[in-house]
Every structure is written in structure tokens, then in C-alpha cells.
């Protein structure tokens, strides 16, 4: 981990043994986190979806809510059990809280003599929220790690993301219920939580005939402190629970609805820039930008300068932007990527290809959101496979 992120250390030596928490005692964990100064954000059912929002109590978790996913389609379904974390690919990702859609960078004021004072954002003007991210699936945990690399792991430390990330307490939950469009297994980000998973608490939620139980272990000193809080009614896990958690993860790995053959994709994309596949995708692509906005790793922003009516007060804000916005590639004289084709190609080649050159990994964590929330259901795994076919064909073509 990058030392300046304040991201949790890997598992502490002391007391990493998993403990069991009954689902009905989740409120106690909420209370411990709240007492220690964190604002809990997590999944809850709203407007026909499992959204991420500030939660006032554990009662707001989406108990027994599952999802049915299709390209361009998302529906809630009732589960047989009362699992709270058995859903995937919701309409938001955790970047909503760590990399907010809009943030002020500085303010400027002009006095009566015309002198201008600049005021950058500080803890006083914009206090860092301390979020406990409650219920982060492994794909999303990987997405946070990729944003860490982009926003704090390079030469530049993002002034909005870094303090939020350092303050955040991460409760990760292994995924036992991958969706129809999930492919974390093939890109190596899930569905299980490795022992060194970069979170504070690692949770397995086991729903079976004995009800819903949680197996919790600390992955950081902060996590260990929380687990040591006497207010938490933890107990020794049922002897079979660890094995059930392992079986659940193994079963989940076999139930991925999609697969992305990640090997060599960077080169495939570099070789197929002129493929007719891009034209065909562009004919279906709305260039609406949804894929980038739901993507948990997409980080691009634009700058917005505002003035008030007097012209004596100005503010600089930044807001989420997208490579699908024509204005995003606007330079003197016009936009560089004028066609839908060039914009879709930019998104896919960066996500799966040039991200490797820039940040040393793929930009895709296999969460499936871009497929679900594309209104016309363009499927990244299908398009990548088609391009791979094209690359193979050109290699085997007539010499």
C-alpha cells in the first residue's frame, strides 16, 4: 500500500481470529463505529434499487433483497433468506463518497481596492467527512485500491480524495451472490477476500438454514480496536462457520455470469484500433456517459469556475466528467474526439489497455456496472472478446 494514503495496514499479528456476530447485532457494530466518529454509509433499498446512502441504523440495510441483472436491466427480487449483502452492481459505487461528484477547490475575493485574496479549501472551510464504508464487495475494494493508485499513488496527491480515503473505515464483505453480469473471478478481484485485503474489517455473511450469521476479522489495527470494543456482542464462531464461508466463496466463483479474458488484452486493444468493431459499437452507443459515471474506477473530472453577480467573489469547483462528453476533449478550435466511435474507443482502450501503461494494472475490476447501467446494454466483455477475435484473425490472416 502507498504509505501516504493512510489506507489500512495488512492484517495485524495480534488477534486476527475471526469472530461471529449475529445479524441482529449489526446495530451494535453501527453504534461502535458511530461512537468512534464515523458516519456509516452502506447499501439500502430505495427507488427500486440497492443504493449507497448514509444509514442511521442497521435496520436500513437491504435484508433479503437480491437483484436480477441483464445488459441495460436491473430489477430487485426478494430472496428466500435475509442476507443484507447479497446484491451486486448497484447504480452507484463508493467513489460517490471518496471522490465526490463536485468539490470546491478554492475561493477568491476582490476587495474595494481591487486586491484579490485566494482561499484554498481547508479543514475549516470543508471538513473531511469520516465515512465508514459498510459492505464493500471485493470488486469494489479493488476499485478503491485502483483509485488509490491514481489519486494518491503517483506524484500528485489528490486534495479531496486523499483525506477522505485516510479517514474512511472500510468494512468489506466477501461476495456470496455474484450477479448475472459479474466477472470479478476472471479479472482476479473476487469474489473472496484475501487475508491481506486492504480493509479494516473483513466480513463473511453466511445465510443458510440456520439463519444469517457474520464471520468478522480485523484487517487493520483500527479494525482490531473496533472488534475489541466491549459493546460488540462477538462470540467464538460456530466450528463449521469458517468452512461454510469458504464453500460459499468457492461456489460464488463458479457462478460468475460473465467472463473477461484479461490475458494480453492491453496488446489486443493496441492492435485493433482500426477494427470495424468500433464502428458497429458506435452505432449502438448513446454516448450518454452512464458507463463511466457508474464505473467505480473512472476518475476524470472537469473544472468549473463560478462568479457571483458582483464579480467580486469567484470559486473554482471540479465535477465528475467523462470521456463521452464532447467538451471533455475540447481544445482550442474544437473537440478532439468528435465521433461516438472515438469516444467509446477512448473509454475501452483506456480502461482495459493503456491503464496498464499508466498505473500498472487494468482499470476494470469486473463489477459489471457498465453493462447493467448502459441503457442499451453494451457489454464490455462481449466487445473485448470480439476485438480479441479480430486481433487473432489479423494474425492468422493472409501474409
Amino acid at each position: 500500500m502507498a504509505p501516504d494514503t493512510g489506507a489500512p495496514q495488512s492484517a495485524p499479528a495480534a488477534d486476527a481470529r475471526p469472530r461471529e456476530l449475529a445479524q441482529e447485532d449489526l446495530q451494535a457494530l453501527f453504534d461502535v463505529l458511530t461512537t468512534r466518529g464515523w458516519t456509516v454509509v452502506g447499501p439500502t433499498e430505495r427507488d427500486g434499487a440497492v443504493v449507497l446512502a448514509q444509514l442511521d441504523s442497521a435496520a436500513e440495510l437491504p435484508y433479503g433483497v437480491g437483484v436480477a441483472l441483464a445488459p441495460g436491466g436491473y430489477r430487485l427480487r426478494r430472496r428466500q433468506d435475509r442476507a443484507a449483502f447479497a446484491h451486486s452492481a448497484g447504480p452507484q459505487s463508493w467513489k460517490t463518497f471518496l471522490h465526490p461528484e463536485r468539490a470546491r477547490m478554492w475561493q477568491a475575493d476582490r476587495d474595494e481596492e481591487g486586491a484579490v485574496t485566494f482561499t484554498p479549501e481547508t479543514e475549516e472551510t470543508a471538513p473531511t467527512p469520516r465515512y465508514a464504508l459498510f459492505g464493500v464487495h471485493p470488486c469494489d475494494l479493488a476499485a478503491i485500491a485502483r483509485q488509490d493508485r491514481v489519486l494518491v499513488g503517483g506524484a500528485f496527491r489528490d486534495p479531496v480524495y486523499a483525506p477522505r480515503r485516510e479517514a474512511a473505515f472500510v468494512v468489506a464483505v466477501a461476495c456470496g451472490e455474484p450477479g448475472e453480469l459479474c466477472f470479478c473471478a476472471s479479472v482476479g478481484t473476487g469474489p473472496g477476500l484475501r487475508e491481506d485485503a486492504p480493509c479494516d474489517l473483513a466480513v463473511h455473511e453466511i445465510a443458510d438454514r440456520d439463519g444469517v450469521r457474520l464471520l468478522i476479522s480485523a484487517h487493520s489495527p483500527r479494525g482490531a480496536e473496533v472488534l475489541a470494543d466491549p459493546a460488540l456482542p462477538l462470540h467464538e464462531p460456530h466450528p463449521e462457520l469458517g468452512e461454510r464461508a469458504r464453500c460459499q466463496t468457492e461456489a460464488a466463483e463458479q457462478r460468475m455470469g460473465r467472463e473477461l479474458e484479461a490475458e494480453g488484452l492491453r496488446d489486443v486493444l493496441a492492435e485493433t484500433l482500426d477494427s470495424p468493431v468500433w464502428d458497429e459499437v458506435a452505432s449502438r452507443c448513446l454516448t450518454c456517459g452512464n458507463c463511466t459515471l457508474v464505473c467505480p474506477t473512472c476518475f476524470c473530472t472537469t473544472t468549473e469556475d463560478t462568479t457571483d453577480l458582483t464579480g467580486d467573489h469567484a470559486e473554482r469547483w471540479r465535477r465528475w466528467d467523462s470521456c463521452f462528453d464532447l467538451d471533455f476533449s475540447y481544445v482550442h478550435g474544437g473537440s478532439v474526439r468528435t465521433s461516438g466511435k472515438s469516444r467509446y474507443r477512448q473509454w475501452l482502450t483506456h480502461k482495459l489497455g493503456t491503464w496498464h501503461d499508466q498505473f500498472g494494472s487494468s482499470g476494470c475490476v469486473g463489477c459489471g456496472r457498465c453493462i447493467v447501467w448502459c441503457p442499451v446494454g453494451i457489454d464490455l466483455t462481449v466487445e473485448a472478446a470480439r476485438l480479441r477475435g479480430e486481433a487473432g484473425a489479423s494474425e492468422e490472416g493472409p501474409s
Binding site: 430505495r46 427507488d47 427500486g48 434499487a49 443504493v51 446512502a53 441495460g72 436491466g73 436491473y74 430489477r75 447504480p91 452507484q92 460517490t96 461528484e101 463536485r102 452505432s283 449502438r284 452507443c285 448513446l286 454516448t287 450518454c288 456517459g289 452512464n290 459515471l293 457508474v294 468549473e304 469556475d305 463560478t306 462568479t307 457571483d308 453577480l309 458582483t310 464579480g311 465535477r319 465528475w320 467523462s322 463521452f324 462528453d325 464532447l326 467538451d327 468528435t338 461516438g340 447493467v372 447501467w373 441503457p375 442499451v376
Partner: protein, 258 residues
């Protein structure tokens, strides 16, 4: 106040007055605005009007009569900067529904004494008649965007009015996609942002009142609208409701209607 304040004029053509009301609806920003500009002509607010020339003219409404044409030319001549506001002024408005039909027939059906109606056969955007410096979309325009345009004019900068899709606003606001999650037909993916995702925030599909986004792919949306249960003639109606004269929506309506 000093006499050097920029002079603002607000004009009405064929329209419902909703965009001018949006300016009045600025409430707490109205008095600060009046400090910065001299509101020289704004009949909706005051019958005390001053003569031109004007530094900034906000024009509501479309060109629907012969007098409109003469009047907009005169206003253009009297205005240093001319900004059109709303779907009528920028794309013909609801009254442009008549453009693709037989006007005389419509007139005889609608009015008891059609001979009293002296109107053009089409309702057209202001920019088809005089040069326009900036077009602000919406039916009605958005209050924040209207203030942004006036503020930008006062500061001598370009207004920050994005031309991307409404989807950007849904996602930024955390509004769950009504099409993907509910199967509700929505023009958001082809419609320009600016409303703050008002309709989707209330569970309704966007009906396109801000007109086409930059470079919209309406052809790609057509199968989705059909799949969500919109008949082709209703797709054509959707595109023709507020912005019938916006070329991208006019073409989409024609394609769906075929």
C-alpha cells in the same frame, strides 16, 4: 446606482411567459441582480420601460407572426448581446407542432373565426431570423442556468452550460436510472442536461424539454423506447413536443414516424 450599469431588457415573443417567470422566480437573487444591471425593459415585471440600446437582451418565445420578424430585427439592432431563453426561442416550442402540418386546416379547426388569425404557417427559433449570441435551453429554462448566463455576461466570460446528456445529472445526483431499473421510457440519453434531472428524480422519464444534447444518437435510442412500450407514433410525438424545430429531434421524429 451609477448610470454605468449594463442595461438589461427582457422580451416576449410567441410563448407562455414561463421563462420570464423563471427570472422573477430568482427571488433572493433578484435584488442583487438589480444592483448590477439596470432593468430597462421587462414588461412582465414593470410597465416602466426605457428606450434602447440595451447591453443584454433576453428573448423568450418563437417567431410565429410577420410582426414578430420585424420586431426581432429591431431588438437585435438595439442589443449588444442577445440571448434566447427557452424551448420556444431556441427550437420553436410547443407551437412548432404545426410546422409539419397543414396550417390552414389547423387554423380552421381550432378557431371559430380563423380569418382573424394572422400568423405564419411555422413557428421558428429566433436564431433562424437574427444572429443570436447564446441559446439557453429548457421548457422552462433552469433558474441556476439563467443566473449563470447573466452572471457570465456581467463578468465577460463564457457561460458554463454543459451540452452533455441528462444522464450525467442523474448519476451526479444519485438518481437511479428509471429506464434501467424500472423500464420507464426516457429521453435522457439524447437530451441536454441543465434541469438537474428534475423528472427522473421524481421517477418520471425525461421528455426532452431541454432539446438534443451535443451529437445525440437518437437512432440507438429508438429500439430501447420501443422495447419500453412506446409506439412509433408516440416516439415521434415525444420528439416533437417542445423542440420540434431542433434538427436532431426533428430527424428523430421523422425516422420514428416512418
Amino acid at each position: 446606482m451609477s448610470a454605468s450599469r449594463p442595461r438589461l431588457a427582457v422580451w416576449k415573443f410567441s410563448s407562455c411567459d414561463g421563462c420570464q417567470l423563471t427570472l422573477l422566480d430568482c427571488e433572493e437573487d433578484l435584488l442583487p441582480l438589480a444592483d448590477q444591471v439596470e432593468i430597462a425593459y421587462f414588461l412582465e415585471a414593470s410597465r416602466d420601460t426605457g428606450p434602447g440600446p440595451y447591453d443584454l437582451s433576453l428573448v423568450e418565445g418563437s417567431i410565429a407572426t410577420r410582426t414578430d420578424i420585424e420586431r426581432i430585427r429591431e431588438i437585435r439592432a438595439q442589443s449588444r448581446v442577445l440571448v434566447t431563453i427557452g424551448a420556444c426561442a431556441t427550437a420553436g416550442g410547443v407551437q412548432a407542432l404545426r410546422n409539419a402540418r397543414d396550417f390552414d386546416k389547423l387554423r380552421s379547426v381550432v378557431y371559430a373565426r380563423p380569418e382573424y388569425i394572422d400568423a405564419l404557417a411555422t413557428s421558428t427559433p429566433i436564431a433562424q431570423h437574427v444572429p443570436v449570441d447564446f441559446e439557453l435551453r429548457g421548457c422552462p429554462v433552469d433558474k441556476r442556468q439563467l443566473l449563470e448566463v447573466v452572471t457570465a455576461f456581467l463578468a465577460g466570460r463564457k457561460p458554463d452550460v454543459p451540452d452533455h446528456s441528462v444522464c450525467f445529472e442523474c448519476k451526479r445526483r444519485g438518481v437511479t436510472c428509471v429506464t434501467v431499473a424500472h423500464g420507464t421510457p426516457c429521453l435522457g440519453p439524447v437530451t441536454q442536461a441543465g434541469c438537474g434531472a428534475l423528472c427522473p428524480a421524481f421517477g418520471r422519464g425525461c421528455f426532452g424539454c431541454f432539446g438534443p444534447k451535443a451529437d445525440p444518437n437518437t437512432r440507438a435510442l429508438l429500439p430501447l423506447l420501443r422495447a419500453d412500450g412506446v409506439a412509433d407514433e408516440d416516439v415521434a410525438r415525444l420528439y416533437r413536443t417542445f423542440n420540434a424545430e431542433a434538427p436532431a429531434f426533428a430527424e428523430a421524429a421523422e425516422e420514428a414516424g416512418r
